[in-house]
């Protein structure tokens, strides 16, 4: 009898809670707040990403939205920076009452906004920022990174270099003087020291972010003649460096590694020679070897090209990943809630550990231990192909994220120090263009 009473009480309690969940009415729209660069040099990423977000939202709404509810976007400019960015973010969450946020591109912005999102209890997807440390130092409930961090991105590039140019003896680095330039070199050099300790670093150059001239750096590298030159610069800085180096023969003298160069390939056009190693911050390439014949992938790329005049670059695909993660989480939460509209907390619960696939690359899994996305990495080498007025990627390797991402709970740099030379000998599938 006692057992029966307990069971009855439990059933009643379940009914009450379930009733509360059932009472969650379907909203008229899902509001998404997006932080992206709409001004400043990083708008080369932020503006295409906004175009992608608008395109994806429009397509999504045409198909009925998420769980039958249309999405509505609002944007804030990361270029505002500092307190203005935080104020705008708070306004978006508290006044506009967005249901989820995608923030942000810059790791500096993510460092600022992640604690705010946690404080405001709003689900936030770090959709493009790469600093590994953000999710290594604290466990968050409301913050997820829907792509990789800098560690696998740099490690993939290094392993590609070690596999394709195993005999190099000297290396120089030319990175932008800010957080990403410094952190990416720390990751790369730590792993290099662990896997190929005999390599000599002959120059570490960190010109000012946004520097208009690299002549002196190019002269020094021409005089030093390093076997390899690494740069993780991006945007106009990378374009300037590559063009100035090319005009003076440096690209022909040393093997250049462009850590995140995928986003500059189209702009550099014929000025980019063959034989440069290029990373893509994920397995992002508009001619992805495993997806290039996929109808939906081709349609997305062509629609984006028609809208903006250029093929998608990695921030575009990162934006698509954030949308897909949100859609997957909502679908999962709705299903878990018996088909009823979920609460925000139920959506957050459903997001942890979820796996989603945009169809534009390999699936991404959000690691439940630290909410870090496990995203494959594509690296290739530049080569001319008929029909394109810019170089394409050839001999592409796609790296398994589970192998090249530091384990949850272990700091990136500490993990990289434990790598052995054999690590670079892993089997990685290679694809021709």
């Amino acid at each position: 009898m006692q057992y029966f009473k307990t069971a009855l009480a439990a059933a009643a309690a379940t009914a009450i809670f379930a009733g509360a969940a059932l009472a969650q009415s379907k909203p008229q729209e899902i509001k998404i707040g997006i932080a992206t660069f709409l001004s400043g040099p990083a708008s080369v990423f932020g503006v295409p990403a906004r175009a992608a977000a608008e395109m994806i939202a429009e397509d999504l709404n045409k198909k009925g939205g998420i769980g039958g509810v249309p999405v509505k976007l609002s944007f804030i400019d990361e270029g505002a920076g500092g307190e203005a960015l935080v104020s705008n973010y708070r306004r978006m969450v508290q006044d506009e009452k967005v249901d989820a946020t995608f923030a942000a591109i810059s790791s500096g912005s993510c460092n600022q906004l992640v604690p705010v999102a946690e404080d405001l209890k709003v689900m936030n997807f770090m959709w493009d920022c790469g600093a590994a440390s953000i999710l290594e130092t604290k466990k968050y409930r409301y913050n997820f990174r829907t792509q990789a961090n800098g560690t696998p991105e740099m490690l993939a590039v290094l392993i590609y270099l070690l596999k394709t140019k195993p005999d190099f003896k000297t290396i120089a680095v030319v990175n932008q003087d800010y957080a990403w330039g410094r952190e990416s070199w720390e990751i790369f050099s730590t792993a290099l020291k662990a896997m190929k300790p005999d390599v000599q670093v002959v120059a570490e150059l960190f010109p000012k972010f946004g520097a208009p001239d690299y002549s002196t750096e190019v002269s020094r590298l021409l005089a030093l003649r390093p076997d390899v030159v690494l740069t993780t610069a991006w945007g106009g800085d990378l374009d300037t460096l590559v063009r100035q180096a090319g005009q003076r023969g440096l690209l022909q003298q040393s093997t250049f590694v462009l850590g995140i160069g995928e986003s500059s390939i189209q702009r550099l056009g014929k000025d980019l020679p063959e034989g440069l190693i290029v990373g893509a911050r994920g397995d992002h390439w508009f001619l992805h070897p495993e997806k290039k014949n996929d109808r939906a992938f081709k349609a997305f790329n062509e629609e984006f090209k028609a809208k903006t005049g250029a093929w998608p670059i990695y921030p575009v695909y990162h934006m698509a990943q954030a949308f897909k993660a949100l859609q997957t989480a909502y679908d999962k939460a709705i299903k878990a809630n018996g088909g009823n509209w979920p609460t925000r907390e139920q959506v957050v619960d459903a997001t942890a550990g979820t796996e989603f696939a945009t169809g534009f690359g390999r699936p991404v899994k959000l690691r439940p231990e630290d909410n870090q996305g496990l995203e494959a990495q594509l690296v290739g080498v530049t080569k001319s192909f008929p029909g394109y007025d810019f170089k394409l990627l050839d001999n592409m390797m796609i790296f398994d994220p589970k192998v090249i991402t530091n384990p949850a709970g272990v700091r990136s740099v500490e993990w990289l120090k434990t790598l052995k030379p054999e690590f670079a000998k892993m089997d990685v599938p290679t694809f021709k263009q």
Partner: protein, 299 residues
């Protein structure tokens, strides 16, 4: 550092100094005559660069050599249109009023032009290297240099320096400008139209800023925000030289260029600090800059 590297560093330093001088001399000229600290100078530099690239891209298919006159044409267009507009409609109503107002109005112009730049040319980097590719490379101790950077830019910088000196000291128009600079009231009383002098000087200064941008455009990517970076550097040069000092701007640009180049070879970590360290050191010893003079206030 051996002598070979030292020579390479000197070449790099001269090339960089030439560009820095071309950009900062306009700022110095405008301050020297109008006593206006023109924050919009960086935007004029950026507009000059973007318009020069636009012109170059248009004329290059006709003849690549037309890109050179295109650079000059872009500078003049920006100087006359943008410079003329700023002076006539934004600054002229504020002459004789608090200096802070001039600073604010040129800052507002800078912000507006920064947004206009994005609206007109977008956010993707633009590169128009045709003028640079036309000239051959020169090889020094086995290191390639573009003659555009190590020969053409320094020659243009020297021509600008001596041309300005000649104009201001050997021509009637220059004498008129110097008279207004020295004493506006006295020059007005002898029949000089100070308004026209201010207008013309501002246009020349704006054209020089645009020329700096135009000449830089074949060597660098044009991106949003490029004007802001350049205005900071130009202020450092102008302040170190002494505001309004044209020869001082040339010498300071050379000091900054050479020190920066040697630092990159020896201690690259300090590259970013060079212009500002030099500025602080000079201003600690000479608060009015290297060539600035103490002005006696008239009561």
């Amino acid at each position: 550092m051996n002598s070979t590297l030292a020579i390479l560093a000197v070449l790099d330093g001269i090339s960089y100094a030439a560009l820095v001088f071309l950009v900062s001399v306009g700022l110095s000229l405008i301050f020297g005559v109008l006593r206006v600290v023109n924050v919009a100078h960086g935007s004029l530099y950026a507009f000059g660069a973007y318009l020069a690239a636009t012109f170059s891209i248009k004329v290059a298919p006709v003849s690549p050599w037309l890109t050179y006159p295109a650079l000059l044409a872009a500078s003049i267009v920006i100087g006359v249109v943008c410079g003329g507009f700023i002076e006539r409609f934004l600054l002229r109503p504020l002459y004789g009023r608090d200096d802070v107002l001039q600073l604010l109005i040129t800052f507002a112009a800078f912000m507006i032009m920064d947004n206009l730049q994005r609206l007109i040319w977008g956010v993707q980097p633009i590169f128009a290297a045709e003028p640079l590719k036309l000239l051959p490379n020169v090889t020094v101790f086995g290191v390639n240099y573009t003659s555009y950077q190590v020969i053409l830019l320094p020659v243009v910088a020297l021509a600008t320096l001596f041309g300005l000196r000649y104009f201001l000291r050997r021509t009637l128009a220059g004498a008129v400008i110097l008279a207004v600079t020295e004493d506006r009231e006295a020059s007005t009383s002898i029949g000089i139209d100070a308004r026209r002098v201010y207008f013309a000087t501002f246009i020349i200064g704006a054209s020089l800023a645009a020329l700096g941008g135009a000449l830089a455009s074949p060597t660098t990517s044009l991106v949003p925000g490029m004007g802001a970076d350049m205005i900071v550097l130009s202020f450092a040069v102008a302040a170190t030289a002494g505001l309004g000092q044209i020869e001082g701007a040339a010498l300071t640009a050379l000091m900054i260029g050479l020190t920066r180049a040697f630092i990159i070879y020896l201690q690259p970590e300090f590259e970013v600090l060079v212009p500002y360290l030099l500025m602080v050191l000079v201003l600690l010893v000479r608060p009015f800059g290297l060539f600035g003079a103490v002005h006696v206030r008239k009561i």
